[in-house]
Amino acid sequence: MKNKLHDMPIYMDYSATTPVDPRVAKKMIPYITEDFGNPASRSHPYGWAAEKAVENARREIALLVNADPKEIVWTSGATESNNLAIKGASNFYSKKGKHIITLATEHKAVIDAVRECERVGYEATFLEPEPNGLLDIEKFKSTIRPDTVLVSVMLVNNEIGVIQDITAIGNICRENNVIFHVDAAQATGKVKIDLEKLPVDLMSFSAHKTYGPKGVGALYVRRKPRIRIEPQIHGGGHERGMRSGTLAPHQIVGMGEAFRIAREEMDEENNRIKNLQTKLLKGLTEIEETYVNGDLEKRVPHNLNISFNYVEGESLIMAIKDIAVSSGSACTSASLEPSYVLRALGRSDELAHSSIRFSIGRFTTESDVEFTIALLKEKIGKLRELSPLWEMYKDGVDLEKVEWAEH
């Protein structure tokens, strides 16, 4: 089966990165050509124009999440935001204690930042979610200790798309006087975020997951009540001392425009994408022995993560190279390790290995989805014909009871 419509594969990897929306690119270009000033230059209009553009963009970020522009700090991306939030807050409030709670299914940037805190003397609890990927609130509650200083939970999971109950988790944090950080890199433009109401102290954002450019992100730092963080980069004192370094106006402008579009078009777009997801789900689950990873209800419409039993992951990826998808998260897909997120859900190594993340978005069409379904049906069939495990399964052999010659 050949994909005749494109010379590039069909892009179904929106959770790894999104294309830049043409409207965003159009808005960015003047800021790399004529309006190129350094926003920190206060002595001439080049600097002022850049600064004004930066502040307009800051307002757009704030508007999407119902925050005050003063609560938005620019960073180079969600990885930096997560590192700044986790290390910055836990350092600043270390007098309260040195215990951090997070989820085993967080993005690497959170997991590894917390691990770094462990290295310098903090203690961390990595909570396992329920098999549907969601955090059990009671279980979470019982993990909080008097010396818990920070909790970090992502709003939307990058691999399985599940949406955590941030309100419930945040309320428990408030009751226990614990700083609450939320990684919302995968959430903007997909779920409504109202920081006036949400009990969240720090929230990380990324531009390139929401049709903006790579290399820019933001951190929300609550002002009422005021949350303090220790800066991780020192220098010119940009971003009210919280994050030094020359800002790149064109990238910031791009993020602002991307978030404006997200705010204005989110509802309509989500309806459309939900329809595509339903279609994709129906088509793919017609294939025997498929398992959807993560809760289907509390989930963004942009994500479907499915394990195909009795086929091996790498050969599967190779077979479906006419679509661009990922197995596990993009940041780790170069390695052969099965997804740690799926393993945390209790999936076997085999099912974790043979999982595919389909992530769809603004430019996904119905025919893309139809093509994907047809491709998967054909290729899974072919691989299973090759698979001794499939043959055994069909012969009624219980694979659990087979003694494998492990090597």
């Binding site: 091996e312 050969s315 190594d349 085999e350 290995h353 090759l386 001794p388 499939w390 043959e391 010659a405």
Partner: protein, 126 residues
Amino acid sequence: MAYSDKVLDHYENPRNVGSFDKNDSNVGTGMVGAPACGDVMKLQIKMGSNGIIEDAKFKTYGCGSAIASSSLVTEWLKGKSLDQAAEIKNSAIAEELALPPVKIHCSVLAEDAIKAAVKDLKSKQK
């Protein structure tokens, strides 16, 4: 991961896919690997009355290199005696397919599968 043209060819057009009756006394079956490791290879050889392997079939659950390794050896096995078959070395498979270092284990698995199939057949012949 960049695959060699030979791996791609065997992967796209695998040779000798299928199964023989494993209870046939002229059929030797070797099944190696484990699902948890990401590869399971089932290799079968069928011996003619002259003691020469006249046919070979395989099924493989594994990456493209594992599929290619097993597909390749089914071609190599035909026309060999059991002792000649057992002589096939993983390094020859790896070299023929230009496997990268991280995929060498696929060729090792294929060698193991041949040995297991030969052993199975010899035990049936006794």
